[in-house]
């Protein structure tokens, strides 16, 4: 029986650090945040999406992280709130927030996310489902409650949506085993996020794929 590939918390943090390093190089906006009273931490990214499909990424606003160069497109696009409130539904701006936390019980990373309109109206579970990529909809419709649920963020204590981690090992194990066979070091976080991210609108730039195999 094959052993599952579990991820220890320190290893999780290491892979996150490597991931963020690359994110900073390409201005992808991920940053590390620690909770005030414990040594827990998580990766976080905020991005704004205009409903007609254009994506604008902004770096996080934390000051303890070295600000990375924003992408050129981001600089040119003003996000004046007053303009947005007058916008029609077709040009509404949505704020997506993604957090990558470590689950001690499952020993895997977990993706927490939430979305809201700029006026603060949060996305409902129904809104989230509507934003799920077409190709995942059939699968999710078979058991949405098993896949995306609403839970309290373990560190922030606020309601977030969560992509359930119980099957993570199942899809990560073959990938990791395969890489081990050919002695390629794989960034677990990069691989995992490339798989689960698109389900909820988070697409990783391709350069992560190259960085993941070069870093180690």
């Amino acid at each position: 029986m094959e052993e599952d590939e579990f991820l220890g918390e320190k290893t999780f943090q290491h892979y996150c650090a490597e991931f963020i390093k690359h994110s900073q190089q390409i201005g992808d906006g991920w940053e590390w945040r620690t909770s005030k009273d414990c040594s827990d931490g998580y990766m976080c990214k905020i991005h704004f999406q205009i409903k007609n499909g254009t994506v604008v990424s902004y770096p996080g606003t934390s000051t303890h992280v070295q600000t990375c160069l924003p992408m050129e497109e981001a600089l040119e696009l003003p996000l004046d709130d007053s303009e947005v409130t007058e916008a029609t539904a077709a040009t509404e701006v949505i704020k997506y927030e993604y957090h990558v936390l470590y689950s001690c019980s499952y020993q895997v990373p977990v993706l927490y996310f939430r979305a809201s309109f700029l006026d603060g109206r949060p996305f409902s579970l129904k809104d989230i489902w509507e934003g799920v990529h077409e190709c995942y909809k059939t699968r999710l419709q078979q058991g949405p409650w098993d896949t995306i649920t609403q839970q309290e963020h373990p560190i922030l204590g606020q309601p977030f949506f969560v992509l359930h981690p119980c099957k993570t090992n199942e899809f990560m194990t073959p990938v990791l085993k395969n890489s081990r066979k050919i002695n390629r070091n794989v960034n677990y976080i990069t691989s995992w996020l490339s798989i689960v991210g698109p389900v909820v609108g988070l697409n990783l730039p391709l350069s992560y794929a190259r960085a993941a195999s070069q870093n180690e």
Binding site: H164, K167, N178, N203
Partner: protein, 125 residues
């Protein structure tokens, strides 16, 4: 393992609607793969206990998306709807469903082909 003749990836059925333009549905190799840069060569490799495809080498038009390729492989392998199929570049990274294989070929292709690993899973319930 005998050398497989290159096969041309057929058009998806009209129900698939992935928004791509009309392409050849040539059964053989009338159009040399990789020529005129309209099609690229893809070598598909199975990961884990995923069934191995009898035909591994395919000539695929550049604009085919990863999702289009996934749908094709799932049909070819006769996977059920509850089974998920993942495709990886560099054996470790899953490109987004809308990513075009032409772009992947530019970034990760070598020796005139793009090697993609595929793996099936019951992930997400």
């Amino acid at each position: 393992m005998a050398e497989q003749p290159e096969a041309v990836l057929p058009l998806p059925p009209s129900g698939a609607a992935d928004g791509e333009g009309p392409t050849d549905v040539s059964p053989g190799t009338e159009e040399p793969a990789g020529d005129t840069k309209k099609k690229i060569d893809i070598l598909l490799k199975a990961v884990g206990d995923t069934p191995i495809m009898k035909t591994k080498k395919w000539a695929v038009e550049r604009t085919r998306t990863i999702q289009g390729l996934i749908d094709f492989i799932k049909k070819f392998l006769k996977l059920v709807a509850s089974e998920q199929l993942f495709i990886y570049v560099n054996q470790s990274f899953a490109p987004s469903p809308d990513q075009e294989v032409g772009t992947l070929y530019e970034c990760f292709g070598s020796d005139g082909k793009l090697v993609l690993h595929y793996c099936k899973s019951q992930a997400w319930g």
